[in-house]
Amino acid sequence: MEKWENNKAWFLVLPVFIIVAFSSIIPLMTVVNYSIQDIWGPGQRVFVGAEWFKEMMASKRLHDALWRQFLFSGLVLLIEMPLGILLALAMPKRGWGVSASLVTISLPLLIPWNTIGTIWIIFTRPDIGLFGAAVNNFVEFDHTARSLDAWITLMLMEVWHWTPLVALLAYAGLRAIPEAYYQAAKIDGASAWSTFWYIQLPKMRGVLTIAFLLRFMDSFLIYAEPFVLTGGGPGNSTTFLSIYLVKIALLQFDLGPGGAFSLIYFVIVLLFCYMFYQALQRVGKGEKV
């Protein structure tokens, strides 16, 4: 291939490069900078290499938070994906019910995240909360005192907040299936289950992959809601990675370990998204007899 003599067109990329630099590259490099040095104050620093990384990788509290995070994301995906698909299947296909259900179902998505935490604090309070007080009539329930209750509350909040996203995406996928597929299925005598399994689900694969990745990333990075609702407690029972990270970096102001932790966190998310994406792309693509 011949080379261009005039390469001035590259300058046109400059504005984008500057924006990306300020929004991502420079902050990321700052974090890298922290993670390989020990900084006491302005001008007082020592290069420590991979020491912070080693320390953080060996930290039991980080391991605990990581497992908690996996459990949380796993539960979120297990509950929200099927529930979202079910909701989408149950939504009306035409008429005024479409807009009514779309608006109703989207409401939780429109509320600011820390507001959601606050709403659920009040909602689940054992003394005055509608949910908390009602449940306390039957069993003792207090998310500030018992780990299991804290988890249940968090899961309820998370499912209430984010299932609508899965449902909306699945609904869009369902609506995109041409009518002829359903007609062909009827002619072929397919049951409702076969129609779902062989037509609707495969045709929704694209949107469900997106929903899966979005829900994984968001739930893996969750911060505001549990921070407001439980603050990571009781004990450390709901201390997820991001909450722990903020504790280290901003409350204890350990910038070195915090930086190393951030990068490890970042790599984990990236790695999992890549693996999920690859796996989901391959689902149902193998040669089968």
């Binding site: 041409p178 002829a180 597929y181 007609q183 062909a184 009827k186 002619i187 072929d188 005598g189 397919a190 049951s191 076969s194 062989y198 037509i199 495969p202 045709k203 149902g284 693509k285 040669e287 089968k288 007899v289």
Partner: protein, 361 residues
Amino acid sequence: MARIELQEIAHSYISDPKDESDYALKRIHNEWEDGGAYALLGPSGCGKTTLLNVISGLLTPSQGRVFYDGTDVTGLPPEKRNIAQVFQFPILYDTMSVFNNLAFPLRNRGISESEVKERVLEVADILELTPFLKKRAAGLAADAKQKISLGRGLVRSDVAAILFDEPLTVIDPHLKWHLRRKLKEVHEQLNLTLIYVTHDQVEALTFADQVMVMYEGELIQTGTPQELFENPTHKFVGYFIGSPGMNFIPCTLDGDIARVDGAGIELDGEIAALGHKAQGKLELGIRPMYLEVHAQSVEGSIPARVKTVEDQGSFKVLTVNLAGNTLRAKLPEGQTVPGNEAWLRFPTQRTKLFADGRLVN
């Protein structure tokens, strides 16, 4: 296989239709004989697909009844009617292999696995799909995909009829020809009732024994391709079938003579007599291939001005102006083409009279 009968079918997509124009199907009363190959021909939007869906049960008609072999099936859904339908675009179960795709309609009906295998292999053989049986259906080319759709229609041996809804629209022209021939072979081999919807007259005329022409929600003529060409009972059939379509010229009657702006064209005596009784606007109709063109005046000919000549290879299409009406004539190869003035002769037997768009006979 079965004889399919529609009694006084009308269908509207609007819940309370007010007048005729609200109906997609206006009044269809028709029978399809067992084992026949039928084509349903008409322009887009004339109600062909609606009619097909009424037959298969995907639609319940607003009025009228559907019978298979004398049994009323109007209220039954398609899966209970035992009918096969192939759609315009290939419909596949993406995650299944070709074999499983073909087996799907059989397995859904609880047919034993050994019989499923036998039928699938047989159909795959007819459609030349055998090498792909283990492949996943999603990765195949468009024509192979459509063959799978056809195959799912053919795989059940006991269907009342197979309905095709413009199944070759997405197929390349040379494969189209191949698949059409395949279908014809299948029809001859298995003696199935086939109803084939299309807006392509070549497809309809080559495929079917009987062609039904639909226009604005009505079946306006049924017949062999030859009948439709020679004796269109409706002006639309004249237009739609044959290329170029039939010529129509407004006229008045004067005894046995049709007058077109003073010039006289002799008509068959009986037709003229009926024409005098007929109501509405009278028109002469003649096929371009039957309109005689002469360079000089001959007996019974009338002069017209030549507008254009198109050379179509084996024949020429001459466009002339006769008293403000544009007419087309098909000139066989080798005939001299008149320059400015042409003399037209209307052979009496080939000249038809239409009153309000309907053939007078």
